[in-house]
């Protein structure tokens, strides 16, 4: 593991030009995430339609390349997914970030998996794990209608 693997092009790309930025009009769930030690912040917006499907999702935030890339890749991926699917993917993703070598789920394509795996580089940078997981925790919190801001520490 080295820096090249942490700062892969895909991360630099999403980090510099994050997708799905900005608040959209008719969101019905949102959640904030904050990493007090780093100052990373994310505010996630989503619309869960009557079929419990995410019909739209976006975020506002500021932070390092890793946290911005993670939020960008995540929102790209989750658009159109069902709540159940979202939870499953998120849980597998968080497992991967923490310890697992792989993301074991059929709910993401090989291409998507590659993108997610690119965030796995943080495994060797323990202080950066929170950066990669911040928006994901916010997503789970939004779905659970948790009122409290997610704070990673």
């Amino acid at each position: 593991m080295n820096l090249k693997e942490l700062y892969q092009e895909i991360i630099l790309d999403h980090g510099k030009n994050p997708r799905n930025i900005g608040k959209f009009e008719n969101f019905n769930k949102d959640a904030k995430g904050h990493n007090p030690l780093c100052g990373d912040k994310v505010h996630l917006f989503l619309k869960l339609d009557e079929n419990k499907q995410i019909s739209d999702i976006s975020f506002e935030g500021e932070g390092c390349a890793i946290s911005m890339a993670s939020a960008s890749i995540m929102t790209d991926l989750m658009k159109g997914k069902k709540e159940e699917e979202v939870k499953e993917i998120a849980s597998k993703f968080l497992d991967m970030i923490k310890e697992k070598d792989d993301i074991k789920t059929n709910l993401v394509s090989d291409d998507q998996k590659t993108k997610l795996m690119s965030l796995g580089g943080v495994k060797n940078y323990p202080m950066r794990v929170k950066c990669a997981t911040l928006s994901w925790h916010a997503l789970l919190s939004a779905l659970d209608d948790f009122q409290k801001e997610v704070s990673t520490e």
Binding site: P36, Y125, P126
Partner: protein
């Protein structure tokens, strides 16, 4: 680890003190440190030093992990439910001040009662006294019996509608009385009263099981537990740490800081303001490992044998009077000698290399009750031997000889 030879793990005993072998019988004051702990401090500072939690560089990350490892080790050692129930403080005194201050702020007001015992160390009285001054809280003392013991009845008798918290020692640093904490906690909880235990003297000598004791707060002094100075532990049930306001304010314990307002961080950070005693916390992991290697059962067995032996020889020694005869007793032999003041005893014993303590041992209330202005105290650590106690006895005889000239 061979407990009979455990002395050799403690480098202090390799040196002569004023040409004598050191007979260290002042462990209730502070214990000596095993080499593994001292080495750990040395290695940390020479090879790995960094502040924890705040920087992302390699040394900082490594130090943070080590720091949090100790928290986990402590959690396991005292069988706390969660790692975040362990707060590092600068000592047991700070741990108790933290609870008195924050619990007092939130839950105590004029006329409320705080129930202590006559056995309490000043550290478990003065912080409550502050609330008497600032809020008009009343302090009630459960009374010791003639054995220097506290029974559950003596506590029950003093509980009223107004009792808002009970704070008491697990093991008296004067009479050695071991209090029935589990039963007291049960009683208190049946009346919805939280319980704080001063575990300074129990922690080095007894099996600790927070979930079994079910107490709300437990204060520990690491330097009495074969650990470095400048470190203590507050165990508190998560619900309390979440519920109580923070104590000291500073870096590391905040979530967001604005000019108008501040929000506080998660547990346990909320209670760990400023740069902590990093090296000490990291080294304390070795103290826990050391205790685990000995095994609490053999430690207890060893110390009980010593205590019995010590009581036996001192009881046989004319004009020596043991203080307290509690039902359950640990690690402490307090005594007086007719006609010789404890300070003179301590000075004379010291000349023979026997280190004991004389004074009121920060328990003036108890000494008043006993009608003593001071007492002599020999207290035990895992490194003591029967030989140490024989030397204590011989030195007491020397003392008597000098005073009978």
């Amino acid at each position: 680890m061979d407990i009979e030879n455990i002395k050799k793990e403690f480098p202090i005993f390799n040196n002569k003190v004023q040409n004598n072998d050191l007979v260290y019988l002042d462990s209730a004051n502070s214990s000596q440190k095993p080499l593994v702990v001292i080495d750990r401090i040395y290695d940390f500072y020479t090879k790995e030093f960094s502040n924890v939690g705040r920087s992302v560089h390699y040394l900082a990350v490594a130090a943070t992990n080590l720091y949090e490892n100790t928290r986990t080790s402590v959690q396991k050692y005292i069988n706390a439910k969660e790692k975040n129930e362990i707060v590092f403080t600068k000592g047991a005194t700070e741990a108790i001040n933290l609870v008195a201050n924050t619990f007092g702020q939130k839950y105590l007001s004029k006329g409320d009662e705080v129930l202590l015992t006559e056995l309490e160390h000043h550290s478990n009285y003065v912080p409550w006294h502050y609330l008497r001054k600032s809020k008009g809280v009343n302090i009630i003392f459960a009374e010791t019996n003639e054995d220097g013991d506290i029974s559950i009845e003596s506590i029950e008798k003093k509980i009223t509608e107004k009792t808002k918290i009970i704070a008491l020692t697990h093991l008296s640093n004067v009479t050695g009385a071991i209090l029935p904490i589990k039963e007291i906690t049960k009683l208190a909880h049946s009346k919805n009263i939280p319980v704080l235990i001063d575990g300074c003297q129990s922690a080095p000598h007894m099996k600790l099981d927070m979930q079994d004791l079910d107490c709300d707060f437990y204060a520990i002094s690491c330097h009495k537990m074969y650990g470095p100075t400048g470190l203590g532990i507050l165990y508190a049930k998560k619900k309390w740490l979440e519920d109580l306001p923070p104590y000291q304010g500073g870096g590391g314990m905040i979530n967001e800081v604005k000019k108008e307002d501040i929000s506080y961080g998660n547990l346990p950070n909320k209670f760990e303001a400023g740069t902590m005693a990093t090296a000490q916390v990291i080294a304390f992991d070795e103290s826990i490992k050391f205790l685990n290697k000995i095994g609490i059962e053999s430690l207890i067995k060893h110390e009980n044998e010593l205590l019995q032996y010590g009581e036996e020889i001192l009881r046989k020694n004319n004009s020596v009077k043991l203080i307290g005869n509690p039902k359950n007793k640990g690690a402490v032999l307090s005594f007086t000698i007719d006609g010789i003041h404890p300070h003179d005893i301590a000075t004379i014993l010291d000349e023979d290399g026997v280190a004991i303590r004389a004074g009121h041992h920060c328990c003036q209330i108890l000494h008043d009750k006993l009608g003593l202005s001071a007492s002599a105290r020999a207290s035990l650590g895992v490194y003591n031997t029967k030989d140490d106690l024989d030397k204590l006895n011989a030195s007491i005889n020397n003392c008597k000889k000098i005073f009978s000239r």
